[in-house]
Assembly symmetry: C2
Homo-oligomer: 279 residues x 2
Amino acid sequence: MKAAIVGIGLIGGSFALALKKYGICDEIIGVDKSEHNRNTALERGLVDRVAPLEEAIAGADLVVLATPVDTIPLLALKVLNKVTNQVVMDMGSTKAELCEVIRLHPSRGQFVATHPMWGTEYSGPEAAVKDAFTGRTVVICDHEQSNPEALRLVEDIYKKIGMPIKYMTSEEQDLHAAYVSHISHITSFALALTVLEKEREEEHIFDLAAAGFESTVRLAKSSPRTWVPILLQNKYNVLDVLREHIHQLQIFRRMLEKDDTKGLIAAMEKANTIKRILK
Amino acid sequence: MKAAIVGIGLIGGSFALALKKYGICDEIIGVDKSEHNRNTALERGLVDRVAPLEEAIAGADLVVLATPVDTIPLLALKVLNKVTNQVVMDMGSTKAELCEVIRLHPSRGQFVATHPMWGTEYSGPEAAVKDAFTGRTVVICDHEQSNPEALRLVEDIYKKIGMPIKYMTSEEQDLHAAYVSHISHITSFALALTVLEKEREEEHIFDLAAAGFESTVRLAKSSPRTWVPILLQNKYNVLDVLREHIHQLQIFRRMLEKDDTKGLIAAMEKANTIKRILK
């Protein structure tokens, strides 16, 4: 199978490596607006060759969209306008707008909307890694709108990579992604800003960074080019969760102000039950 | 050297293992109110024997206080009342009250106030691990109030374990610990409660947990018995940082409500500068 990957960054580049590693594709064609990205992808062996979008689609059996989420809906339409019998899939973190925009396209059945639950705080083809994705869950959205053959092709790819598949509507996926991914990023960004604002002696931040801060603030290194579009595309779900999070912090603040030991213990014990859910 | 470790939990137990591993002590005497902890510490080989506090002090050259921080000030006084020529140190996360309470004790010079910047979200002697501490910074507070010999003994121990030493006043340490450790814990607890509150379908939290949520919420597994006293002892510093953090989240909320792309990019780019400081 030959795949065209549009957007050879952290996600597209890592996916290219997985497609080769698991023997799924014998040729990967890279498409990227950035010359730097195209050159880096070639140098690092993420792709076999690069090509303009139209040429890449024509030469591929599978077209993978891995650009920032604000660009995916229009890109998906343009690609669907050009496909003959190719299967098209995306890897973005938000889905409602995309699935709405392509819903009535005559080639909708050839599209499979997917969100593999993997990422790091780094971006670009330099950040692509081997062994990404394996063991992580992938969400396939609105799968009944994909043709059975297109769906099976994409399911088989994810199964070969070793990813459990979960099926949701695009609205469900966006809601759950807000809870478990998007809000964590906002928290990390805000925590980094808090510390940068309050702590002028950077030497101390560095020295004391071991004490829990590093893991909580890791995501604050993430790229605005990736994350601003995700938050804006998922605005209403994210705002809903963000309001609840601010509310929870305000409750902590009031308990602390009042030396409410019992309240603090009860809140932490309830928070501890997250153990049940995480490993 | 013989050490008595009071409080054989995550910190005391891991420190016991380090004292043995680096050949610093040939006997570790464990002191703990909990019979379960004493038995576990013996079974797991964290201590050579257990004893009541007074007997342990009498048999030791070094007394290490590793109990929850709300118990340390009075415990420190009681231990200082009993020492002859032993050196006493604590390992707690807050220092201002402790250092204030022992300031005028005739044996103050034998006490060294330390905060090794290491921990995990687990607690109890079961959570003790080998190779804790090494490579992490330790803060020694108000070191000019310790005798040079007591100070040197404790410095040598931390150096043998491979910990860079930083000197601060107890007030400075509490302020910096609020920024880089205590606030991260509150954020994690609140984030766990947010998700537990909003997300009723636990199966989805589990499946989607890979997407950044796990690292941000890890600290929410931490024990209230450890963390309520830390937050209350460091109340004013923590409240100050918590107010700033809520403020930063409110700014994010407003930018998102207004689709303020430029503002969001600028905020994230500023947050990204945390890269300079963390590795």
